[in-house]
């Protein structure tokens, strides 16, 4: 069966998510939930020379959210914090290569939002300290 939405790359990343799991030691860790549907993503990553050296994610949710998180962790390795902060939703969507309705777009960008929020939260904490 062929699907327009659930293309081979999406199903591959859903069935065999890359970088799935926990990091023993990490610099950033954050979890977010899409309360509208219960999709959950937790991302942890480690920096070296200001670039993302290692990143892992855990999650429960629809195929789009898992596949997107998996693809994102591959894309984001080696990027600086600034590059991550400036990484746009549209760029992720382009990489996924599928056309999504507004509701499903939320599934797709959950992992990116979690990643960005982890950086924001740490920055806020640093300011407070």
């Amino acid at each position: 069966m062929e699907s327009q939405l659930y293309r081979e790359n999406i199903m591959d990343h859903y069935r065999n998510p890359r970088n799935f799991g926990d990091l023993d030691s990490y610099d950033y860790k954050h979890k977010e939930v899409n309360t509208l549907c219960g999709d959950e993503v937790e991302i942890s990553f480690k920096l070296e020379n200001n670039k993302i050296k290692d990143i892992k994610f855990k999650g429960v949710g629809c195929a789009i959210s898992i596949a997107s998180a998996s693809i994102l962790t591959e894309l984001i390795k080696g990027k600086t914090l600034e590059e991550v902060k400036n990484y746009k939703n549209e760029e992720l969507m382009e990489t996924l290569g599928i056309s999504l309705s507004p509701i499903r777009i939320k599934c797709a960008i959950l992992s990116l939002m979690t990643l960005k929020d982890s950086i924001k939260i740490k920055e806020l904490q640093n300011v407070r300290n």
Binding site: M1, S3, Q4, L5, Y6, T35, L36, C37, G38, D39, G61, C62, A63, I64, I103, R104, C107
Partner: protein, 406 residues
Amino acid sequence: MKLETIKFNIEKVMQDFPILKNIKNNKSLVYLDSAATSQKPLQVINRIKKFYEEENANIHRCLYDLSTEATKNYEDVKEIVANFINADKEEIIFTKSTTESLNLVAYSLLQELNEGDEIILSISEHHSNLVPWQQLSKRYKLKVNFAKLNENLEIDVDNLKSLVNKKTKVIAVNHVSNTTGVKNNIKEIAEIAKENNIYLVVDAAQSAPHFKLDVKELGVDFLAFSGHKMLAPTGIGVLFGKKELLQKISPFIYGGGMIKEVSLEDTRFDELPGKFEAGTQNISGAIALGESIKYLEEIGMDNIDAYIEELTTYALEKLNEISGLKVYGKGHGIISFNIDKIHPHDLSSLLNEDNIAVRGGHHCCMPLMKYLGINGTVRVSLYIYNNKEDIDKLVESLRKAIKFFE
């Protein structure tokens, strides 16, 4: 297998709905989301067109023929709706929707209550029959209690009764759950309300389109439903309220059209139902609602009830043959289910690729989802333009999706 009890011509009815001709990927539309909104027959669409082409004018105040006729048509619909639910004409208020009707009751009723008074809702309420009461209770310092559900996911009437005390002033419950399609025993709840001088408010959004309602027989004080779930356009809803209660409570929305006299200092309000219809109403929507009720009554509400019941039974039979599929409750016209290991969003998206329209998610019932221990379901909802073939296509597409996700 032919459905046995159809007493109307289903093929003819389906032909009245132009949207069913929608084709995608060589597949015609299988619309299974009528609980979200119903499709519209040509008769209703054409009535709206005729109104705007030949009859449009504002109502009630103007002095020319076009307006007089528009007023008469609007008022005639009040009569049609009143007869539809065995109420009096002045007990019918037009609103925008069930949600607005319920907000109207909540705002207007809760002003009358005292601090510490109590309200009873249920766990299976749609957010529109939960959030208004919840939020206004915070404002007026009232207490909200929630009746539990029994193993059939019906409101547990014994449990509801146990929540009643001297301070209970309002019970607000759904007639048919928009998520599970389970029907609640309103008559029994009404008896409890009557014995204890409690106002009973019923959300009839999912029952009014499906079977004959009789507000006197049910024993309700207020009842709300939406036009767009019963073949009429969006933007027109109904609130029924017992005359003596509507006369007592304050308006919710103020403005032109609901007054007798206005000075800078104060205002005398109009009589019923004008008091609750401020501003220009959805005149074309109301007239279309009249047309949709006529359409439904021509088929016969009992016939519709029987047909949907039989189609639901057929659907449940077929769905229960799918291994790994779990249905929640036994509903009328509405079926919520999940399939092992496949997220409702993924299932709904795959069905969409076969041009099958279902809903996936929490269905505006987050507390019910939490109670069931899930995040969402796939919901199928049936109406008079669905047939056995629609169910067969749904099942085929579900089986394909399961294989795809294996």
